[in-house]
Symmetry: C2
Subunit: 335 residues, 2 copies
């Protein structure tokens, strides 16, 4: 591996995405990307007796499916990098405990899909693993009751609020496949003092702008060098803010940018306010829609940058602001 | 990097520990390892207005100190890998947000020090970073009220219960120093069905036995090939169980093994029941006592294996068992 500029890491062997899988719940299946998911579930509990267990089941199912689509068995996977939003990342530890694969828990909040994919790519590029999996999941009901209010309370949502995606994504990284991981950039923690936990987009946009700006500096590229730049789950408010922050630095995203949180739902018709969010948002959109369209040749040169809000219920209750982070992965397709 | 056997990763450039720092609270400073800490605090809140903020302050202070001891500035550190026990790992995100260093949040519960050190070593060995830091922290009061009971309740502790260490550790990894990281092994999740959250040692011991057994298989070595084998925080109950489980596989740890949770406190005199625990236990003992004794030449060939219990309050309340994990780092000193 070689460092380019200040923060970018070039993967000299360009590891490939062997296969990926995306599964979601009912509301996501009714959205514009329905065709891109491998499996959808109309029962929000997936037959489990709690939402936390349903989220765990999402993760287990998506990892097993991705490994199967890669024509591999769990024992062929040298390590798995996974994380989620639940306290102590229990979705990952309980979801993966039966697979017997070395596990490295990652915490990046909603940036987890980019972080785990970056880590899996570094592991394969360096020879630490021949095959590594990256995965994440989230669930609307478990997130809502952990971070906000009991669902039964029926609290009214503000216009800036986002809707946590019930879904999961997994990518298996190795040395075969048409989509390669070219370079990656781990993000820095950026905190401009936003304290409204119902406006995550605004809290994460400064981190997204920082990562993108520094990536363009490091690589000497501009937005127009890419077919698409996908952010994780900035939603409407955060996406607008990202454009503005970059324009202040003379970078115009033009029509190149889209946000997974705006793509997964029809925001007007599906009553999700500012868009989708949660680890499973960027996770299921990357591992479904984005990689499908790269495999088909529609997109060849893509930046995938998922963003995370690094707060907890306790930190909010103690009056803390919301630090954000954005990790970037540069993907390229030969298709 | 090269894989040895089934799970072990050999670091071909053998990255070095440039410097490390360990800081702890009052009780830890009164224990047998008092001489090995860089800083101790008699005020359990470190001047902050909550225990969570005190834990955050521990992490910030230890990272700044380790970077200073390495004769570096924060901007010289290419990335930091850190994690903790707080919900959504807020100790790490809030503790590090002012340092402006690319951050990759790790979740391994009490195994975090081994996981972050392993990750930092892989990053430096592969060229993804020239300098990487690994850090973790925990606090008795924040852990107690998050996982168990309000402190004010004064709940009685069972004999198998362990005492969460208030403290932190940080190691800076790069290409200079007398202690090198030879090889590493990420652990698998092992769950034998233990459900007692006041007996973490028993929940983690099977994972520790699995990792050690497989490491000896992979490398063709035995306990007697090492000067010391340190486990993270198995405490009394878990350490006994580890010995028994390994003896069943004809591996005798003899006098080579010690446990950070048994070393940091005088278990009888300090009323800590089965010993110390928490991320900061293995973190402060490694980054203080163990590395100090390697630098002085007392220990030359050491296995450091921290263990984690991958549960949450919610998973326990929902009747789940406690999955364990153990990550291993092999250290060698030229001193």
């Amino acid at each position: 591996m070689k460092r380019i500029g200040k923060y970018t890491i070039m993967l000299q062997n360009q590891p490939k995405i062997i296969a990926s899988a995306a599964i979601v719940g009912k509301k996501e299946a009714e959205g514009p990307l329905s065709e891109d998911f491998d499996q959808t579930f109309s029962d929000s509990k997936l037959g489990e007796d709690s939402w936390e267990k349903a989220e765990t089941s999402f993760l287990k199912k998506v990892v097993e499916l991705a490994i199967k689509k890669a024509n591999k068995e769990p024992q062929d996977v040298d390590m798995i990098l996974a994380g989620d939003l639940m306290n102590q990342c229990t979705t990952s530890s309980f979801g993966l405990r039966e697979l017997n694969i070395p596990f490295l828990g990652q915490y990046g909040a909603c940036s987890t899909m980019a972080q785990t994919l970056m880590m899996a790519a570094i592991m394969v590029d360096s020879g630490a693993a021949s095959t590594a999996a990256a995965a994440t999941a989230s669930h609307f009901c478990s997130a809502e009751r952990q971070f906000r209010l009991p669902l039964e309370y029926g609290g009214q949502r503000t216009p800036t609020a986002q809707w946590t995606v019930s879904g999961a994504g997994c990518a298996v990284v190795g040395d075969e496949g048409s989509i390669k991981i070219v370079d990656v950039m781990p993000g820095k923690i950026v905190d401009l003092g936003i304290k409204d936990a119902a406006n995550m987009g605004a809290a994460m946009a400064p981190a997204a702008a920082t990562t993108l700006f520094e990536y363009f500096q490091d690589t000497g590229t501009s937005p127009q060098d890419y077919d698409k730049i996908f952010t994780g789950d900035l939603g409407m408010v955060g996406s607008d803010l990202l454009r503005k922050l970059l324009l202040e630095n003379n970078i115009d995203l033009g029509t190149v940018h889209n946000d997974c949180g705006l793509m997964i739902f029809d925001c007007d018709k599906q009553d999700v306010h500012a868009g989708g969010s949660g680890c499973g948002c960027a996770g299921s959109v990357l591992c479904g829609h984005i990689l499908n369209n790269m495999a088909s040749g529609k997109y060849r040169n893509v930046l995938f940058m998922a963003t995370g809000a690094l707060m907890s219920l306790t930190s909010s209750q103690q009056g803390e602001s919301i630090p954000g982070i954005a990790h970037l992965v540069h993907l390229s397709s030969n298709s």
